[in-house]
Amino acid sequence: MPGPAPHDRMRPEGRRNSQGIRVDPEAEATHEPRQAVLSALVKHRPGVLAEVSGLFSRRQFNIESLTVGPTSDESIARMTILIEEPQPGIEQAKKQLQKLVPVVSVMELEPEALRRELALIKVGGEKPDDVNAVAEMYDGQAVDASTDSVTVEITGSKQKIDAAVAAFEQFDVQEIVRTGAAALERGPKTLEKHD
């Protein structure tokens, strides 16, 4: 009675890739990871950071940085989240984020959006003039100096800060602190509170 054994059964030719997308032989669909900047408005209340960061770790999204700060509306905070994922993962992250109850709205920023990071770099105080010269190369400035150390502040893109940090290596770096990125769309576009 039992019908044909496993490999003798009717079956189609097609297949899907690991992301569940049907593989079209003419246009094989593969998605390489890319970086995305997500910007989210969230209700400013206790626990939202835990809720958002918990979502990202639980769903295994590859997160690069996450920053939070107040907005002009004191009941709303803004989060900037950098993730690196294939396109379907980025879409998922957006949708899952939007689903959280305290999240008001979510948007992925255009690649040309303004992105800024801040770094404070503390180096040995032996050559303050040289330190200053390097800081100026990166539009930074010394914000604190003592006989033993100089602390420099640099603002800019991640690449610029990476380069600055590398340049300061020559001065016996004692400590570095970096924020994650804060980002805003260029032009008049804003992230609506409800959309």
Partner: protein
Amino acid sequence: MSERASVPKEDEQSTDQDEAAADDEQAPVTTGAQSVVRALENAGAEYVFGVQGGAIMPVYDALYDSDITHVTMAHEQGASHAADAYGIVSGEPGVCFATSGPGATNLVTGIADANMDSDPLIALTGQVPTEFVGNDAFQETDTVGITQPVTKESYFASHSDTVGDDVSEAFALADAGRQGPTLVDLPKDVTQGETDVEPKAPETPDTYEVPEEADDEAVQEAAEVISDAERPVILAGGGVIKANASNALREFAMEYEVPVITTMPGIGSFPEDHELSLEWAGMHGTGYANLAITNTDCMLAIGTRFDDRLTGGVDSFAPDADIVHVDIDPAEISKNVYADYPLIGDAREVLRQLFDAMPRAPDADEWREQCQTWKQEYPMSYEMPDDEPLKPQYVVEHFSAVTDEDTIVCTGVGQHQMWASQFWEYTEPRTWVSSHGLGTMGYGVPAAIGAKLAAPDQEVVCFDGDGSFLMTVQGLSVAVREQLDITYVILNNEAVGMVRQWQDGFYEGRRMASEYPWIPQFDKLAEAFGAAGFRLEDYENVEETIAAAREYDGPSVIDAHIDPGENVFPMVPSGGDNGLFALNEDHLDEI
């Protein structure tokens, strides 16, 4: 056919006194706890399942004066499962209570279970007074932190004036859109604190928007694709039942003659005795459903999240199919399986839209014939040699045959759960109550309690495993106290059988920690609890034992000693190809 199991709007046993009380003006709210209870009353809660304790005591005290019926459970895990099952059967959020610390942590399994299956549930937990929060006080746990990943939202109530609003909102949220669990953590000072603020009407938070109808153009496009299909199928998930869309599904499928496959949570959304039904697909689904999934060229998937137990490996899942995916939760679209035609909206609304938009029925005579051939070739069957010990499938099949179609079946988790889904014939929504996404052993005993209270006029049967039953056996005391007419059938193989099956299939038969030859005599155990106990060992007695257990007015337990060698087939190994299901152990070596 009713979309909902019958939940009586009025408590039939209500006394004159109760009625008199209901006629009275409601007493004004004077404490946070009373505001909590008022919020539950406003939301229409009829039952609360819970266990007392220090931090929740003020709320219990307020419940003393309420018409809401409290069902004291023997363990908080049972409270959350009973509330979950109540939610599945009634369609309204089930409510459970627990105290802080261990009470709250004991609820977590049931909350996580409800979350995976999108069951409407609201959990209220006591918490230490606000001033002690964060100090590792006696019976303190970070309940919001623990439950956040397994709820739609967990609230920490911060003030007596707003605690009622928190509960109202949590209740509304549990029920809205894609249903699911919510929790409100209630510090004792907040519930004890004075307030005269009446809670607001239940309303979802302003950031929570639920789509209703899908975009018309997208619907039109999808309808064309379905009409053009040569090998169409409908895949109906649990969301169809949640959206009360079973009737709409039936109308659509029958009008356009599209074969219907359900997921396991979707069981009951379409009558299994109908010609177009291929029953359910997935790891232990029917061979014909799995073959249809593999060979379809167009799948209308409704209210399913494409769980891996359904899809097997995604690379081989419906590899030729255009997928039209209907879901109320945008985050489900293309999460596991890419949706070529996403339709975001309420399943019932979207089915109606699709129904109207279909230009014609698909031309699929040959395909339907093919599906019928598969039904002939791969029937759900089992071998039943006369001299062998009792086969579990026989017990399920026989029970199914003697009961009405609105009988509700609950289960634990394991082989018995699979047999209960394979060999019972389901025709009505909300008659299949099981733990799918989380796969929680111990679900059955308390779930049957919640189901029976939600549908007191319907027969309730629970198929359980010996392992699963032991995990929540204390719930039997509740069924006895409440005199709930439930028939528990333990398909007893003296093992955690599903584990043993995998050990035999994939671990060279090394049966580590899977055999339970020391289990109690369940019939005697049942009697010790005050239930009726029966022992069943051979075919001759199946009929009379089932009849006697059903006749007994109150909880009864049939300890059915089944063939311990019996395994569940068909089977698609984890991550495998649905079309290559194994019908027996030999096939497993081939695939």
